[in-house]
Amino acid sequence: MDKLPIINAQNLSIGYSKKQALIENLTAQIYPGEFIAILGPNGAGKTTLLKTFLGALAPLQGSLKLLNHLPHQDCIGIGYMPQQILRPELLHLTGRTLLGATIQAHQWGLPYLNAEQESEIKLALAKVEATDFADKAFGECSGGQQRRIMLAQALLGQPKILLLDEPLANLDFRHQEKFIEILTRLSRDQSVTILMTTHDINLVANAMTRVIYLAKGKGILGDFAKIFTSEKLSELYQTPMEVVQHQHRFFVVHKETGQIENVCCEHV
């Protein structure tokens, strides 16, 4: 098995302006086939980190390599699923049409799919079990079905890395489970590396390999068991934190205020 990291970040600082970095000095090596959850309170820089990995945002400092390239030089190797995709103009198109638009976006000329592209779309839809509703208008699909179509979109071009922004948000439990099952299969069977932001660590606790936890302008990467300790999180937050376990669910609580951090449940 490949022992070289597929994502290699050294002393990485990220953010939208040089004056104010959102995260400083992040060092992380991620290996092929890993399934990583990116956690942190609102505004900690989860989406910003994904966008930096994607190449849509330049690092402020430090070095970053994906698939041994600088970000943005190997876009084909990265699949991305953004958080907000619902624009009313899109709702009348079918999932298959959206995938068709994606697969030929790099070509010139008028939209027309060749047989090879048609079969790749078919394959991507099958991988996420979206074949049944691929020809329904996007707006008539349920939230969970829409997410699966967008995941199929991210899978076009057989990327080695998947960057998913809040794919589980606002889904009911059944759809969340289904989605995680599909992701687990992708990372296990095809050794796709998955990085996913989420507000509920408990949903993916069994599926993921490691966690990136972002807070207070810092980020740490490590095993779930090592990071989800009162000691480690207090150090990261620079304030007393407590990790509480209740009925197999983990909660992160501010010790002084008793407030629950929204890294362990969807609706806080």
Binding site: A101, A105, W108, P111
Partner: protein, 271 residues
């Protein structure tokens, strides 16, 4: 009786020119309008058309053709808007102020050149019946050029209109596409305003394409319906305008409104 008099009208060359120009404009506005709706650039287009008013009046002042002045200024404004991006395109206040200033500037030009004031209503409300054979040829060439360029960039343009954040992520030449599209938009706006005036480019550039977007599930059905709805609107309006002697822009806007209501109620009924 009606049909006979309509047939008689088609014998006149000004009527033939109007019909040809209307057809050319409907096709171009249908194609560009489909992307305008997807990219949510309705209000931006409206503002651009008003900038053309100042251009047309200024050209009149300098003794140039109205359409060339309008095209030039709309083109410059469009490229500037493409340059400033969402900061201006999605900023209602900025667009509104630029729009109002353009009308003000146009009124100053008209004031300085008062014997030309009759042209104001032509620019504002359009005048297809006075299209000369020469300007018809210009329209045909410009439209053909625009549609050829669209055909060349249709794939990345369509994708970046549908999923803009992904277009950036996938490394598409988003900036180049943006400038190209805005240049084409400037041409489409200028030509559309020859038929319905700068005040009513919504009628062909937004209305029918918006209905088309709503009832199509793929690229080709969207583009095809957009052109078809535009052709129906302009042909019907030309016939009604000839029969009643009322202004074309009145009929176009009425037909588009009724079509929009019909499409909306059909959709509500179905769901």
């Amino acid at each position: 009786m009606f049909v006979a008099s309509m047939f008689e009208l088609t014998q006149y060359s000004f009527m033939q020119n109007a019909f040809m120009a209307g057809t050319v404009i409907a096709v171009l506005a249908g194609v560009i309008g489909y992307f305008v709706v997807l990219k949510q650039l309705g209000f931006t287009s409206h503002a651009l058309s008003h900038i053309g008013f100042a251009g047309a009046c200024g050209a009149g002042l300098l003794g140039l053709s109205l359409m060339s002045g309008q095209l030039l200024l709309t083109l410059i404004a469009a490229l500037l808007m493409a340059f400033f991006g969402d900061r201006v395109q999605k900023n209602d206040a900025a667009i509104g102020i630029i729009l109002a200033f353009s009308l003000g500037l146009g009124s100053l030009f008209l004031y300085s050149y008062d014997h030309y004031a009759g042209s104001a209503s032509r620019i504002l409300f359009g005048d297809l019946l006075s299209v000369t054979t020469q300007s018809l040829h210009q329209m045909e060439i410009l439209s053909l050029l625009c549609i050829l360029i669209i055909a060349l960039i249709a794939r990345p343009l369509w994708f970046s209109a549908l999923l803009p954040e992904l277009a950036l992520a996938r490394g598409l030449p988003v900036r180049i596409l943006q400038y190209t599209f805005f240049a084409l938009l400037a041409v489409a706006i200028t030509l559309t305003s020859q038929a319905v005036g700068i005040l009513m480019i919504f009628t062909l550039l937004i209305g029918p394409p918006a209905v088309a977007v709503r009832c199509s599930q793929s690229f080709w059905s969207g583009i095809f319906l957009s052109i078809l709805f535009n052709l129906i609107a302009i042909w019907l309006a030309l016939a009604l305008s000839a029969a009643t002697n009322w202004p074309l822009s009145f009929w176009v806007s009425t037909i588009v409104l009724l079509g929009y209501i019909a499409a909306s109620s059909l959709q509500t009924l179905r769901s």
